[in-house]
């Protein structure tokens, strides 16, 4: 067994200069990023940005034109027992409708190197134990997502790759998924999840990799992205004149509202402290302004959609 196949290893996912064109459209363009062990990495971008194509290249389903995508330094297809190293779920609805949930797992169990008991275990883990004997054809989208996740867990992999895992989950399911993915990353696993909605994964991810038009537009810890969001503090007061003086004293750029002001580049704590010192009566104090979603939209809008490739060979 190679080092990569051992349990408990820290296995990074590394994408380097990855490029793929379909006809004249460059779907993925010299994309590089790393998903680190012990963290949940959000792979984000609008629909058609090249997320799924990238994940499919990572998993050996689509052949890259250039570049490499490796798991612990090895190509997916070069792994001895791939599903015991990487658990991947790419198609929310990809089940034979006539198979029961348990039988679906039993199909993939031999190659993951596990027995039927493990199938029941993962069903339990994703909350599908009661539906084990039911045919997948009658499952809701949320149940299919859970079964897909159970499939990825079969071989107890150190790396998880999930394409839009929150799709079709109800709010309760999303909260559950968040806790579950945090738990898996907490065990030192590498978790890479894609989404076209930042808000959906915002509370789940440690790192973000944002692409648009097949190109990387931003990669950082989530905190650095938060810093990009310009903050505003909404202040409500009966003493507008007093608030204006306070803003001028502290050099806060201010915008008048009907019952107060919006202050730029400060925090509710700073405004509250200053108002307290100045004996200014406040009726409201809250942080507002550009949300992460706004930043995300700004980042992804900046890059034009996939452009034609000169020469256009595939």
């Amino acid at each position: 067994m190679t080092a990569v196949d051992g349990a408990g290893d820290a296995i990074p996912v590394e994408v380097h200069e990855l490029t793929k064109s379909f006809g004249a459209v460059r779907a993925v363009d010299r994309l590089s990023f790393v998903a680190r062990p012990g963290a949940v990495t959000g792979f984000l971008g609008p629909n058609g940005a090249g997320k799924t194509t990238t994940l499919r290249m990572l998993l050996g389903l689509v052949r890259p034109d250039h570049g490499t995508a490796t798991i612990g330094g090895r190509r997916y297809a070069a792994l001895e027992r791939p599903t015991a190293v990487v658990g991947a779920d790419l198609e929310a609805a990809a089940f034979h409708p006539g198979r029961t949930a348990r039988d679906h797992l039993r199909v993939y169990a031999p190659r993951a190197g596990v027995d039927d008991r493990r199938c029941d275990e993962v069903l339990e883990q994703v909350g599908l134990a009661d539906a084990a004997g039911r045919r997948v054809g009658g499952f809701s989208l949320g149940m299919r997502q859970r079964l897909g996740l159970a499939t990825t867990l079969l071989g107890d992999p150190r790396v998880l790759v999930l394409d839009e895992p929150a799709n079709g989950l109800d709010p309760e399911g999303i909260v559950w998924l968040r806790g579950f993915l945090r738990f898996l990353a907490g065990q030192g696993r590498t978790v890479l999840i894609s989404s076209h909605v930042l808000g959906e994964v915002q509370a789940t991810v440690d790192d973000v990799v944002i692409i648009a038009g097949g190109r990387l537009v931003h990669a950082s810890p989530l905190g650095d992205l938060v810093a990009l969001a310009s903050r505003q503090v909404r202040v409500v007061t009966p003493d507008l004149a007093g608030l204006e003086r306070l803003a001028a004293e502290h050099g806060w750029a201010a915008t008048r509202t009907s019952d107060g002001m919006l202050l730029d580049d400060t925090t509710p704590a700073a405004v509250g402290a200053a108002a307290h010192t100045a004996h200014l009566e406040l009726h409201g104090l809250a942080e507002e302004g550009a949300s992460l979603e706004d930043v995300f939209l700004r980042l992804t809008a900046r890059t034009e959609p996939a452009e034609p490739v000169r020469g256009g060979a595939a």
Binding site: T52, V62, R63, L79, P82, E91, H96, R99, R106, Y108
Partner: protein
């Protein structure tokens, strides 16, 4: 490799298609076997396939053989479809992604599917052959004709009928690999087996220069593998020797599998 094979066998066994079709095949062949035994063993003993009264009547053993090995001539579309579905179903339900994630080496996946197809084909072979015997033998018995069920040549042909039907399932896997669209694959199978080959066989045979080509058609090769057929027993068509027929039928299986591997199965899965 054995893990991949177990994966493929479980795929078959966890769905209902394989035994539903096998059951249907058994029933259908029982009906046709009875009908064939009935019409060929006419009371005067002079009934012929063509209805041409000048053609010599079939020997009693040939009547039994014609009924018993009917599945290889008329029932092979069942294992062929089951084999094809094992690959086209993966594309239809998009489970090909999960399959190739479990085993990225695509040649191994195909080999495992061919082997699993052979196993299911054997079940279909037994079902179809058994059906024809179960349908034909009682009718022969009612007509006070010998059953020949202890006859060496008859038993040999029954075994080869099972094997030929199994090879048809393997051909189906290759065909499904080449033509992954399920509807297209089923339409091609039905059109070829029900119309194209029967017409070609009669048409080619009518032209003496092309008579040998007709023997190389897959249906004719399968009947040659069994050793007799409706057509040949009645003197309508010549067949290859058993070894030749077997080789040609296996050749089709290999041809489709290799063609599918280097074309469709080479592509990106997206």
């Amino acid at each position: 490799m054995s893990e991949v094979l177990r994966m493929e066998l479980r795929k078959v066994l966890t769905t209902r298609m394989w035994w539903l079709l096998a059951l249907l095949l058994l029933g259908y062949m029982a009906f046709l076997g009875a009908a064939m035994a009935f019409s060929l063993s006419g009371a005067e003993g002079g009934a012929t396939l063509t209805g041409d009264s000048s053609a010599p009547p079939l020997a009693e053993r040939d009547v039994a053989l014609s009924a018993y090995t009917l599945a290889a001539s008329l029932g092979y579309v069942f294992p062929l479809v089951v084999g094809a579905l094992s690959m086209t179903g993966e594309f239809r339900h998009q489970t090909i992604t999960a399959t190739l994630l479990a085993e990225p080496r695509r040649t191994r996946v195909l080999l495992a599917k061919l082997a699993a197809g052979l196993a299911v084909g054997l079940v279909h072979g037994v079902a179809g052959t058994l059906g024809a015997v179960l349908g034909g033998a009682p009718v022969l018995a009612l007509r006070d004709q010998p059953l020949f069920l202890g006859d060496g040549e008859v038993l040999t042909q029954l075994v080869f009928s099972v094997l030929a039907l199994a090879v048809w399932a393997v051909i189906g896997v290759g065909l499904g690999t080449l033509l992954t669209n399920q509807v297209a694959a089923v339409v091609v199978i039905l059109a070829f087996t029900q119309f194209v080959e029967p017409i070609l066989r009669l048409g080619l045979t009518a032209v003496s220069a092309l008579e040998d080509v007709a023997k190389l058609l897959p249906g004719a090769a399968a009947e040659a593998m069994v050793g007799s057929s409706l057509y040949s027993a009645s003197g309508l068509l010549d067949l290859l020797p058993r070894a030749g027929g077997t080789a040609v039928l296996l050749g089709y299986a290999a041809l489709f599998a290799v063609l599918g591997r280097v074309t469709t199965l080479r592509r990106d899965i997206s």
